[in-house]
């Protein structure tokens, strides 16, 4: 009798453990645990990678949405960017994508092409959503084979964030944006002070914040318009890379790659170790809340080379094609793309909202920073380079370029290697 009891206990324990341990996929509980009663409380899952910067924004968005739709509950799942796409990939193949989630340019085509996203055209027409309210380039970014799969959320451009206190210490006038590459390097040289452990700029190994812009500024592009050829090995592409490697290895105005590996460039900027940093508009909230930086930080447009240019990108909101609550998910999506949601973004300053006319609020959200430059840059902005399976070649960029950053190979050598591998990857895309 006792043996019977013990073995029953043992077996139940194992079954319970097996049941509990196998759900690392947190999107599972949200899907249609559908209390399928008629005025059902529906729970939607909404995924983002906004992190702590978006806490206030997300709270306000949910409040506003639930006020209009009291029967819909939103479950936010925030994942750090590094793991977001692995999680989405796993969810997608398990047919378990969140109802509504953040989408970006590089990943968009693969999701749309493989039927993971719900096409929105009929819904857009039926509810009279006017796509003219968003910049055309952003709407196009999320259009695949003539079908619209996402609604633009925001856009971002890159600026030169700088530390006014470090400029003052060296008596250097603040940049007004009329500078070119040589003048930028000069400024950096004046600000570099090895004795104090301060550098003019952190030449981060960063695509969106760094070399994508300098390649465009040199008149080149990262990928050809027909998405079949890499632009890295063109003279313009090489020039774009060389700008950065020279900052470290020739002009010595930047920490080395080793130093930037030990300490993130963002951390260096936020602790006053570098005077300038090329970074995105999305840092406005973080910098404004940083105790050290908040009264010292400002931003200027990027310097120009052959031409002025900057890479523009924008996130979108997409809907899972297999959502258990498509009607409610669309309501959420529609709301997120609406002027009201965009105003919340602008007020909390987390991102430049995509809805035309709402950007002013964002600019005014942190009046001590010249955020207007990010909007002004749009007129000469070029699109973020993407292809059907962008990550297959974009993941190679840091692996190959880091040797040029470390001065072990020339910029030309690294650029050519990267172009060769990128062309291989593009050829494999069907």
């Amino acid at each position: 009798m006792k043996k019977m009891l013990i073995s029953m206990l043992a077996i139940t324990t194992v079954i319970a453990a097996a049941g509990c341990s196998s759900s690392p996929n947190e999107t599972a509980p949200a899907q249609g645990q559908g209390n399928a009663t008629s005025t059902e409380t529906v729970e939607l899952s909404f995924s983002s990678w906004g992190g702590s910067a978006y806490k206030e924004t997300n709270d306000l968005l949910i409040q506003a949405f639930t006020a209009k739709h009291p029967n819909i509950k939103i479950k936010i799942e925030d994942t750090p960017n590094k793991q977001y796409w692995q999680k989405m990939e796993a969810a997608a193949s398990g047919e378990n994508l969140p109802d509504v989630f953040w989408m970006n340019g590089p990943r968009f085509a693969s999701y749309a092409a493989n039927g993971m996203l719900q096409p929105l055209d009929d819904l857009i027409k039926q509810d009279k959503v006017d796509l003219n309210n968003y910049p055309e380039s952003l709407v196009k970014l999320y259009n695949y084979n003539g079908k619209q799969y996402a609604i633009p959320k925001d856009f971002d451009t890159i600026g030169v964030w700088y530390n006014k206190a470090l400029f003052d210490a060296k008596g250097v006038p603040y940049p007004d944006g009329s500078w070119n590459w040589d003048q930028f390097v000069d400024t950096a040289k004046k600000l570099t002070d090895p004795a104090k452990g301060v550098w003019g700029v952190a030449a981060a190994l960063d695509s969106q914040g760094g070399y994508y812009n300098t390649i465009y500024q040199s008149g080149g592009s990262v990928i050809s318009d027909d998405k079949k050829k890499s632009g890295y090995d063109s003279p313009e592409g090489i020039a774009g890379i060389k700008f950065w490697t020279d900052l470290i290895n020739v002009h010595k105005v930047s920490p080395t790659l080793a130093q930037m590996t030990d300490t993130e460039p963002l951390d260096m900027f936020q602790s006053g170790k570098v005077a300038m940093l090329w970074e995105g508009s999305w840092n406005a909230t973080t910098f404004a809340k940083n105790d050290y930086l908040k009264d010292k930080v400002d931003v200027a447009p990027l310097p120009k080379n052959k031409q002025q240019s900057v890479v523009i990108h924008g996130l979108g909101y997409a809907m899972s094609a297999k959502s258990q609550h498509p009607k409610e998910a669309w309501e959420l999506l529609k709301f997120l793309g609406s002027k009201e949601a965009m105003d919340i973004h602008a007020k909390t300053g987390v991102a430049i909202p995509a809805y035309n006319g709402t950007q002013d609020t964002w600019v005014k959200s942190f009046p001590n920073m010249k955020l207007q430059i990010f909007i002004d840059e749009v007129k000469y902005a070029k699109p973020y380079p993407v292809s059907k399976y962008t990550s297959k070649w974009s993941s190679l960029e840091p692996e190959i370029l880091n040797k040029a950053w470390a001065g072990q190979v020339s910029a030309k050598e690294a650029a050519k290697q990267l172009a060769a591998k990128m062309n291989e990857a593009l050829a494999a895309e069907k």
């Binding site: 043996k3 013990i6 073995s7 043992a10 077996i11 324990t13 194992v14 453990a17 097996a18 692995q86 990939e89 796993a90 997608a92 193949s93 693969s110 493989n114 993971m116 452990g197 190994l205 790659l257 080793a258 130093q259 590996t261 030990d262 300490t263 399976y389 990550s391 297959k392 993941s395 840091p398 692996e399 880091n402 040797k403 470390a406 072990q408």
Partner: protein
């Protein structure tokens, strides 16, 4: 379920053997029932995934986890993969540095903490703390300690006029720096195992040795070590298996942009890259099987060699 050696005259034989086999059978049944939960878990969470991985190593994966048969393509690629060769070299270097250091230090610590000294519980707890600390937290803190410009280790060295080193960004030091963290994390675990092994050594041996005039070091070499060899063998096998599978420390302490990636990435790191960053799960499975075979061979060799040096009482 041996027979009780009862010899009965014929009319009773049938009854007794029937009772005996009933008893035997019910004991046999209970035995399997008791290990069933563990065995089912082993089957479902280890054996089945290994079989699946073996199968997947012959497939090619596309976007969103769709896959197709690819025959021996992955293995052909594997034998030509230079990164994998480097990763194997890094892994072996790591193993050669980690295992001896970890075991020797753990034995020393366990021996020292096997005496009745004041604060024994506190010392044991302190040494065990790294084991219960989250690997991510360990990696983060040690990364800052190792920081080339602002790290505490270089600061302390500077007080002794020793030149600062780039612990995580210099090819000379990167892998060794990681080994140090791994050894630090592992001492507690091994110490517990060695402590139980030490406590299994009868104190009569030590008493006899004292009578013969042996000092502490002699006692250690002549009594402790030989009688500890079964435990040492166990810890060596487990440590070797774990060391060949090193991943999380390297992944968390060496950033993906670091120049040191080629110098430090382990076979499992590469497996992770192929499986989850490049979505190449078929090839990654082949890498997994490759590592499995290597570890099995090494373990088999150890099992064969144990007769030579392990002293079972």
């Amino acid at each position: 379920m041996e027979s009780q050696g009862v010899v009965s005259p014929s009319p009773h034989i049938h009854a007794t053997t029937h009772k005996r086999s009933n008893l035997a059978r019910s004991q046999w049944l209970w035995g399997y029932l008791m290990i069933a939960p563990f065995f089912l878990g082993l089957l479902g969470f280890y054996i089945w995934p290994i079989i699946q991985t073996f199968y997947f190593s012959f497939t090619k994966w596309e976007a969103f986890n769709t896959y197709s048969w690819a025959g021996l393509d992955n293995y052909k690629r594997l034998v030509q993969d230079v990164s994998l060769l480097h990763a194997l070299r890094n892994t072996v270097t790591y193993v050669v540095m980690f295992v001896p250091m970890s075991i020797i230090l753990s034995i020393i610590v366990a021996t020292l903490l096997n005496q009745k000294i004041r604060g024994l519980a506190i010392y044991r707890t302190l040494f065990f703390l790294p084991v219960v600390t989250m690997p991510a937290a360990v990696a983060m803190v040690w990364k800052w300690l190792y920081n080339g410009d602002y790290g505490l280790i270089n600061y302390v060295l500077s007080l002794f006029a020793i030149k600062a080193q780039n612990w995580l960004t210099d090819p000379k030091w990167a892998l060794f720096a990681i080994v140090v963290v791994a050894v630090w994390s592992s001492i507690g675990n091994n110490m517990i195992i060695f402590l139980s092994g030490l406590q299994g050594i009868s104190s009569s041996y030590y008493e006899a040795a004292s009578i013969d005039g042996a000092g502490p070091f002699r006692k250690f070499y002549v009594i402790t070590l030989p009688l500890l060899t079964p435990t040492i063998f166990f810890v060596t096998v487990i440590s070797l298996i774990g060391a060949f599978q090193v991943f999380d420390l390297i992944y968390m302490m060496i950033g993906s942009k670091s120049l040191m990636v080629e110098n430090t990435q382990s076979v499992v790191y590469l497996f992770y890259k192929y499986a989850f960053e490049n979505n190449d799960k078929g090839y990654a499975s082949a890498v997994g099987i490759f590592l499995l075979v290597i570890i099995m061979l090494i373990t088999a060799v150890q099992m064969k060699l144990q007769k030579k040096w392990v002293h079972y009482e």
